[in-house]
């Protein structure tokens, strides 16, 4: 087989100007189970499929709170995600302590972007093997960002990463126009529907394997009279029985899928159940 000489480290360009190690790291993201994020004018939600290593084992954690106004969803190497998440937590805490405000989500994401980029330019380092969806609110509103191992960070209206996430993205693209004005519940519903698209056949969303994270603004608190400031609904993760009522929203099966999700995708190459991926 042709031996690729240019893929041994992240400091070597291929003749085409590519860096294979970074591209391989991006593959690790696709090994993780799918996560979906959507942002509206008032909220940002993350939904995720949790895997369990075997029937009787517990389910992996996919959503993490960073600070009261930010949460992340991960796909890829959990341990790399933990490093990033701890870093983000520190940054948010420091920012709140010095400025007494929510750290702007974009600055936060830029920081991990820069951190990840360094790993792609120095010998002896490797790129992070994890992709993130970062959802948060700050003084300028709700935001959703995607973070890639290359250090690329982009603000999205909605996005999905992880195994078979293309199907979810297709769903999101089809419903793109609706998100901006969606309510909190509608946003979660869209998220779950997108998630459903990515499921392998015969798999269902259950209270065991579904996680939902929400952050946003609460409708005007009238306590302070002419209180103009929007109040933040802190990032919160719902698991287990707490997701039941949301699952019921999308339990209506295919028949009610009025947008016509098109032909059900055939089973695609499996989700690559590697132990180290998305597992503790």
């Amino acid at each position: 087989m042709f031996r690729n000489n240019y893929d041994n480290d992240s400091v070597t360009f291929s003749p085409q100007g590519r860096i294979f190690q970074v591209e391989y790291a991006a593959e690790a993201v696709k090994q993780g189970s799918v996560v979906v994020g959507i942002a509206s004018k008032t909220h940002a939600v993350l939904v995720a499929i949790k895997r369990n290593a075997e029937e009787l084992s517990s389910y992996q954690k996919k959503l993490f709170q960073i600070d009261e106004h930010v949460g992340i969803a991960i796909a890829g190497l959990t341990s790399d995600a933990r490093v990033l998440s701890n870093f983000m937590k520190q940054q948010c805490l420091g920012h709140r302590l010095t400025y007494s405000r929510n750290m702007p989500v974009r600055s936060l994401v830029d920081m991990i972007g820069s951190k990840a980029q360094i790993n792609t330019q120095h010998y002896g380092k490797r790129p992070y093997g994890v992709g993130l969806l970062v959802a948060g609110v700050d003084d300028s509103g709700p935001h959703l960002f995607e973070f890639q191992p290359s250090g690329m960070t982009e603000e999205m209206v909605a996005f999905a990463i992880g195994a078979r996430s293309q199907m979810a993205r297709t769903y999101l693209e089809r419903n793109l126009d609706k998100f901006k004005t969606s309510s909190r519940e509608e946003l979660i519903e869209h998220g779950l529907r997108a998630l459903k698209e990515s499921l392998v056949q015969d798999r269902e969303l259950t209270v065991e394997n579904t996680s939902i994270g929400v952050v946003g603004y609460v409708k005007g608190d009238k306590e302070g009279g002419e209180e103009k400031k929007k109040k933040v609904e802190p990032f919160q993760v719902f698991d287990g029985q707490d997701v039941q009522r949301y699952l019921e929203l999308v339990a209506d099966d295919k028949k009610d899928d009025k947008d016509g999700s098109g032909p059900q995708p055939a089973t695609v190459a499996d989700e690559g159940e590697q132990m180290e991926v998305d597992a503790y």
């Binding site: 400091v11 003749p15 085409q16 972007g113 820069s114 990840a116 330019q121």
Partner: protein
């Protein structure tokens, strides 16, 4: 390619027998795959523009800026690997800040270009790093008037930092382009990325060195050039992002700012119109005077 298989292209800072550093050349390949960026230096300011290929419909429109502010009067745009571009900007901001710390005055465009040229060059010297996969265009407007140093105290001569010749003109618009090798030149019109050939051809048609064009004209030209350089057969849709810098008495008051929405839309409208017109012409002529690639 001749370089492949020779073994001289497998790591940075290695010369081939004919004196080339292949890794730097490969880095330039990464640049050539990126969206087109251009910069125009006109008589009263600088315009930067970039073609942002929309890689996904799910991207939030207008949210992901590619032109960055480095100091109040300095802007940077780059083509190539986006994360490397961010690194470049971070470093440039550090340089601008430390210059302010040391000299109590904003860094000039030339000095920033020099510092950043050195930084990129340093990344071609060692096997432990790789060159930057970007070519960056740095635009700035160096202040022409004296600025107070440190909120001057006292009734001393109001001559600012001093050391300036009253007859000489200082400051003005400047434009530089820095390549992965660390090489940089000053430009009147600079272009890099995918559509650089077409963009360069268009830039050369403008009168930038003589009488010069106005900032507003430059904005419109920049938009048109990005539209011309865009290859709709290969690429999907794109978003145009533009920024400008004028002097103290110009529209941006010496600051690097995004081109206002209204002006950008007007420039885009004119760009599209001129494209349509030239398409019509081409159909008439039939023989088509295509840009040599």
């Amino acid at each position: 390619m001749t370089s492949i298989g020779t073994g001289y292209d497998l790591s940075n800072s290695i010369f081939s027998p004919d004196g080339r550093n292949f890794q730097v050349e490969y880095a330039m390949k990464a640049v050539e795959n990126g969206g087109t960026s251009i910069g125009i230096r006109c008589k009263d300011g600088v315009v930067l523009a970039v073609e942002k290929i929309i890689t996904s419909k799910l991207l939030k429109p207008g949210a992901n800026k590619r032109i960055a502010t480095v100091d109040r009067h300095l802007g940077v745009v780059s083509s190539g690997m986006l994360p490397d571009g961010r690194h470049f900007v971070d470093r440039a901001r550090d340089e601008a800040r430390s210059w302010r710390d040391n000299f109590k005055t904003p860094i000039t465009t030339a000095d920033l270009a020099s510092r950043m040229g050195n930084y990129l060059q340093a990344h071609t010297l060692y096997q432990s790093v790789r060159p930057f996969g970007i070519t960056a265009i740095v635009g700035g407007f160096d202040a022409q008037e004296e600025s107070p140093v440190d909120g001057e105290v006292g009734n001393g001569p109001s001559c600012g930092a001093g050391g300036k010749n009253p007859d000489k003109k200082y400051g003005g618009p400047f434009l530089y382009m820095i390549e992965p090798s660390g090489l940089y030149w000053g430009y009147y019109g600079a272009a890099t990325g995918k559509g650089r050939q077409a963009a360069k051809a268009e830039l050369e048609k403008l009168d930038l060195t003589g009488e010069g064009i106005t900032l507003e004209e430059a904005v419109k030209e920049a938009a048109r050039i990005i539209y011309v350089a865009h290859d709709d057969s290969k690429d999907k849709e794109f978003e145009l992002e533009m920024s400008w810098i004028s002097g103290k008495d110009g529209p941006t008051k010496g600051l690097h700012q995004e081109v206002p929405k209204a002006l950008r839309e007007e420039a885009e409208r004119l760009a599209k119109k001129s494209l349509d017109d030239s398409d019509d012409e081409e159909e008439e002529k039939k023989d088509g005077d295509k840009m040599e690639e």
